[in-house]
Amino acid sequence: MFGYNITMKEKKTVLVIEDEQSLAEAIRMKLSNSGCEVLTARAVPEALDHLKNGQDIDAVWLDHYLIGREDGLDLVARLKSAESEWKETPVFVVSNTASADKVHAYMRLGVEKYYVKAEHRLEDIITDIKEVIG
């Protein structure tokens, strides 16, 4: 109509997969405050549902220990498999376990970054995510 193409910056969506409810709440609050859409899940099947729903997920915030049989590593394996449509989606693993083999496993699967929860400020992590997804 005007001849201008106004591209509105769409709100970025972050899928937060965290089993601790209080923590999930804090994360959600902080992400929203920084201008992101937030989807939450407490287990792998839930997370997959969100993904399959078709919503454009720009980043994944993933804890290692989750509700149910499957853990974060299983999800990442699925996300990063050859046929997955979410292969390119950056995954940020934020967990309280720091065991080297887990870190290695995640890094090998191709996650963006791995944070030990207790060692980082919420704000810092979110800043990193925003940097990556734009």
Partner: protein, 730 residues
């Protein structure tokens, strides 16, 4: 060649020339002697026969002379010559008849006149006879001719002049038969079967004409002649006047047979004589002797050889045979045998020495047997130990083929022994699940002949996780074989996994509520729930700070538990230590500035990168530096130096702070220990830092120590190795 044959050869070689030479010399001697004998004999015969011949001839002449000198006959003839009275002739006739009868060998007496005309005789010759002129020359009685008469008998005609009162009144021709001569030539005494005495006269042409019959040619008398060209026939030399002995093999007689000959010559008559004998006959004794000699030689020869053989056999062959047999028996294994040889010579000595030697070998053998038994017993123990060990034992040869597996290995790997033996070790040891770097390290160590131990090996077959240790056994710098020990650590690994899992879970459980407090406090402080008043802010900061300490404590405790449980993992990689140091300093900057601390650094630019776990060493540096800063008065100095010293890197962190009291220095690395002086100063600290630092440094192959004086300051000295591969991978 056997000794027997050798002995024989020696005998033959030595004896044959001797015997040959000896017999040759003997025979020569005999022959020479024989020839001399023959020569003598023939000489004797020749001389004798010559004398007889001369005698006979002399006889003829004398007889003729006698007849010719009959006085009455001469008177009557002379008278007849005067008056021609025929009755005178009958007187003469009567006388010559009488003479003929009484004389030997006379055949015919004939009287001739001075002109040579026949007057009368015992045989009537009137018509044909006349006396040759040459015969009428001279006044001596001589032989005029030798010829055959009408009966083909050899006759000797002698002419004797008849002399009366110094006047030749006529000639008498007396014909003798040659019986006298033939008697001589037919006398073969001393001449064997083939010898004879020859009589020949020289003809006008120089040839030799036989006068009497020959032994082997009865018709030869006055019929057979030998040409003067035939020099090899002695009769020619004889009629030429040569008196000699002929022995060489070229000398032959009238029949061509080889002869020995002795020649004589009667001058005046020009008669040659030969006493000869066939060489063959002459040598008959020699031949006989030769045969006897040969037989004797052969007998002696054989005899000597037989004796030599026999003797040699007794002296050499038999003892040697005995020794050989003895040696064979010994080498067949029977060391108890000894040989008894009655021999005082070197062979006997050899036998004695051999006995002694066998005795020593036997003893040596026994000694060895004992040693072998002992060793075998020892080995059996080892063998049993290996066989019954619960650790898998595998032996690999230099070409990397499996030569032995014990039952434990079979159990651990789940592969039957049959399948494993003589197969390539690598293919049958390494499962595909073994991490590649472990597999490579394994192969490299083997190539370099170095021992290798790893806990990360997965054994092919069952894919059992094992602790694998390879020990090459070297001999003179080359690998002869390898011993591989495997321990099933699946349980250990499971335990490990469980421990790690525990720590992981524990840390998660501990940190989760801490994270919650952290973030909510953070959000409150950030004003996400509304504006705070200063007091609220203050309280929240305390909450936040307290929580941070809690987080640090939990971290330290988790590290400690990892250290205690042994699940600490070192992940080395190439690290720039200086950059690390600088980064750690940067972290401390706020505190340094706040406390107005002077920072000194000394970094060795030529330091190569270290093969270390970055996170852990960072932790070490962080700990030491933060301690240095924390425990130093405001305005003090903290210094960090990182330099290279031989194969190590030397890190020094020093401060001018409170120092560590002397009596508490021993405990400083202990868990949860905090020195009294710093506790009084109210500084924060978990007391776990140095414990963790020491463990990490030591696990990284380094050392840590300190020097400290209360009130002056502290310096920590940390060394870390520069080289790779000083750690076992876990």
């Amino acid at each position: 060649m056997s000794i027997r044959l050798k002995l024989l050869a020696i005998a033959v070689l030595v004896i044959t020339p001797v015997i040959l030479l000896g017999s040759f010399l003997i025979l020569r001697e005999v022959e020479d002697n024989l020839i001399i004998q023959i020569q003598n004999k023939l000489d004797v015969v020749a001389s004798l026969q010559e004398a007889r011949t001369k005698a006979v001839v002399e006889g003829y002449l004398q007889e003729a002379q006698l007849i010719a000198s009959r006085t009455q006959m001469r008177r009557e003839l002379a008278a007849y010559n005067q008056d021609g009275n025929p009755s005178r002739l009958s007187v003469v006739n009567r006388i010559i008849v009488d003479a003929k009868t009484s004389a030997l060998f006379v055949e015919v007496i004939s009287i001739f006149d001075t002109e040579g005309t026949f007057i009368l005789g015992t045989k009537d010759l009137s018509s044909s006879a006349s006396l040759a002129k040459e015969s009428r020359e001279g006044s001596v009685v001589r032989i005029s001719e030798i010829a055959k008469d009408e009966l083909n008998r050899v006759t000797v005609e002698v002419v004797a002049p008849l002399i009366f009162e110094n006047e030749i009144i006529g000639f008498a021709e007396i014909v003798f038969n040659a019986d006298g001569l033939m008697e001589i030539t037919e006398d073969y005494t001393g001449l064997g079967r083939t010898g004879e005495f020859l009589l020949a006269s020289r003809t006008a042409t120089g040839d030799a004409l036989y006068l009497t019959p020959l032994r082997f040619d009865s018709g030869a008398a006055l019929a057979r002649a030998v040409s003067r060209e035939r020099k090899e026939i002695p009769i020619i030399s004889a009629v030429e006047g040569l008196e000699a002995f002929f022995t060489d093999s070229g000398t032959v007689d009238y029949r061509g047979a080889k002869v020995f000959a002795s020649t004589r010559f009667i001058e005046g008559l020009e008669w040659g004589m030969v006493a000869k004998i066939d060489q063959e006959e002459a040598f008959e004794p020699v031949k006989q002797l030769r045969n006897v000699l040969i037989l004797s030689i052969v007998i002696i020869y054989v005899g000597i050889i037989a004796i030599w053989f026999f003797v040699g056999d007794r002296i050499f062959v038999q003892p040697l045979r005995a020794l050989t047999l003895f040696a064979q028996n010994i080498s067949a294994g029977n060391l108890k045998l000894r040989i008894e040889l009655q021999d005082k010579s070197e062979i006997g000595f050899l036998a004695k020495t051999m006995n002694k030697m066998i005795g020593e070998i036997e003893e040596l053998y026994r000694g060895l047997e004992e040693k072998v038994e002992e060793r075998t017993r020892e080995l059996k123990k080892f063998q049993q130990a290996v066989e019954s060990s619960t650790d898998g034992v595998l032996m690999i040869d230099a070409t990397f083929d499996i030569t032995y597996v014990n039952p434990a290995f079979v159990k651990i790997s789940g592969t039957p022994q049959k399948t494993l033996i003589s197969k390539n070790a690598d293919s049958y040891l390494t499962s595909s699940e073994t991490p590649e770097e472990v597999h490579e390290a394994f192969l490299n160590s083997i190539k370099e002949g170095k021992p290798y131990v790893t806990d990360s090996f997965i054994l092919a077959g069952n894919n059992t996780p094992v602790r694998l240790a390879v020990y090459p056994v070297l001999k003179d710098e080359t690998q002869v074989f390898y011993v591989v020990l495997v321990q099933d650590i699946s349980e250990l690994k499971a335990i490990d996994k469980a421990k790690t899992e525990f720590v992981s879970l524990a840390s998660h459980q501990l940190r989760t509520p801490l994270s919650s407090i952290n973030w909510y406090a953070e959000m409150l402080l950030a004003g996400d729930a509304g504006e705070l008043n200063p007091e609220q802010t203050q309280f929240l900061k305390e909450v936040y700070a307290g929580n941070q300490r809690m987080v640090e404590l939990v971290d330290s405790l988790l590290n400690v538990s990892r250290l205690e449980l042994g699940t600490f993992v070192i992940e080395p990689k190439d690290v720039d230590l200086i950059a690390l140091g600088q980064s750690v300093i940067k972290e401390q900057k706020p505190q340094i500035e706040v406390r107005n601390i002077t920072l000194k650094t000394k970094f060795d630019d030529t330091l190569p990168s270290l093969y270390i776990d970055e996170k852990l060493i960072r932790m070490v540096l962080q700990n030491l530096l933060s301690n240095a800063v924390k425990y130093t008065e405001k305005g003090g100095t903290v210094s960090l130096s990182i330099i290279q010293k031989n194969d190590m890197v030397d890190i020094q962190v020093s401060d001018t702070g409170y120092g560590i009291p002397q009596e508490e220095q021993k405990k400083i690395f202990g868990k949860l220990f905090r020195a009294t002086n710093v506790r009084e100063k109210d500084t924060e600290g978990t007391g776990l830092g140095l414990y963790i630092v020491k463990s990490v440094v030591e696990k990284s192959g380094g050392t840590i120590r300190f020097e400290s004086e209360e009130g002056t300051g502290t310096t920590f000295f940390v060394t870390l190795p520069l080289k790779k591969g000083d750690m076992t991978s876990k």
